[in-house]
Subunit: 229 residues, 2 copies
DNA sequence: TAGGCATACATTGTATACGATTTAAAACTT
DNA sequence: AAGTTTTAAATCGTATACAATGTATGCCTA
């Protein structure tokens, strides 16, 4: 899928956002090289701007920059993958609880729309987009909980989760368990803080279970890479 | 012994680290302007490098960059301050627990040395340095817990906490409650996971209590600032 | 003299040029 | 022909030059 932009100059943030979405929807896979000149051509900006966005993404853990070698979409190790989900397990249940205590009817309606958009994307077989929306759902919970810091942090963790899913997803058929999201929305509507917290806890555990985080070294590696040195 | 005469050019990371330490020890206060040329002169590097480090610090939440106006040491709002400590309260007790289960005798010895260094700094009345060490203690717990992701995250939160302390510290006399740290080390030595978790929880609560995070708008504001716009 | 306007200065933002390093390719040797 | 050295190309890192923006100064007018 081509990444197009308006004729006027793009900002570093816009480029970073587009790259993030491409990663999130698996149009860009872990390990993919991000050559500066190539991105310059696509967005019609100087390398200065491109480098800003790449560094930005590096800080967020989505990109790995090797000195004098270039920028690559990050390839989380098994340990990093576990750590991401451990961190999420520490944070998100509390966010679900806080969200349940604060959610307005508008918030609930928003989440319902959000879930519908996800379902529509799945019906259209836009798997990547569905995955992105599914992750964004979690970020929205933090937004409803009115916790900006964790919202930003969670956005990073969710984006990294997309990388992890790309690397360690077990089966390609069953995608997301939307029933958890539905239950969460219901709990929010009912102001059921305990319920929301528990559902979130279980939901993250479910996600983790669907990943293959055993000690197999690095997952799918190209033969070329494996033999390189 | 020969001394390196070659004026080794500082890297962006080194500059960022020095600025971070200056912030951590309160040699740089919230709101301080960080002019690029000035930093260039100090470290004898081009603006390219300085801008890299400033952007890096912005991503970490220590610096705020206003377009066309420049970089300033961040000034956390009351809400942001609360969020930092809420996030720490979600994360750190779990780290204390994990650390208690993993701590080796070497780890315990290291923490004891660390506490002694903090005490020495206090005795020498190097308040800023003591504060920095006190914060780093928490980061070391995450390191012992062998959780790299949270260790990095916590380093950011601790650095931001230094800003918060600079802004919202209640009384200038009583500094840190070293008894909590001592208790924590003992719990780690005893492999007392529950105890470590509880002590950490209480310790963070104590810290929070010593801050003035009531709804007074932004804490210490000058009349001049208040009328500025 | 106070306020508004215009100009000059200071600082930041972006693009480009140049040097350093890596990667790929070619030529050479054994 | 395989391996090694040499050469060239591609790519990244840093410094610098220039443009855009913001800030301060002085002048003019009422």
């Amino acid at each position: 899928m081509t990444i197009k932009l308006k004729s006027k100059t793009a900002t570093a943030d816009e480029i970073a956002l587009q790259l993030t979405e491409a990663i999130h929807t698996h149009r860009l896979n872990p390990g993919a090289k991000l050559r500066e000149d190539e991105i310059c051509d696509i967005f019609q900006v100087s390398r200065t701007i491109v480098r800003q966005s790449l560094h930005s993404l590096q800080h967020k853990g989505l990109v790995t920059i090797l000195r004098n070698k270039g920028a690559f979409v990050a390839k989380p190790t098994l340990k990093e993958a576990r750590e991401v989900f451990e961190a999420r397990s520490l944070i998100e249940p509390a966010m679900a609880r806080a969200a349940a205590l604060r959610a307005t009817p508008e918030d609930v309606a928003f989440l319902e729309d959000h879930m519908k958009a996800e379902k529509d994307a799945l019906d259209r077989e836009e798997v990547g987009e569905a995955l992105r929306l599914s992750g964004d759902f979690h970020v929205q919970i933090a937004r409803i909980a009115d916790h900006n810091l964790i919202e930003a942090l969670l956005a990073q963790l969710v984006a990294r989760s997309a990388l992890i899913i790309a690397l360690y997803w077990r089966r390609r058929n069953a995608l997301s368990d939307s029933s958890s999201h539905l239950g969460l929305v219901n709990a929010l509507r009912d102001r059921d803080a305990d319920g929301a917290e528990e559902i979130m806890k279980g939901h993250l555990l479910d996600l983790l279970m669907q990943l293959d985080l055993r000690d197999s070294p690095t997952g799918p590696v190209s033969l070329k890479d494996a033999l390189k040195k």
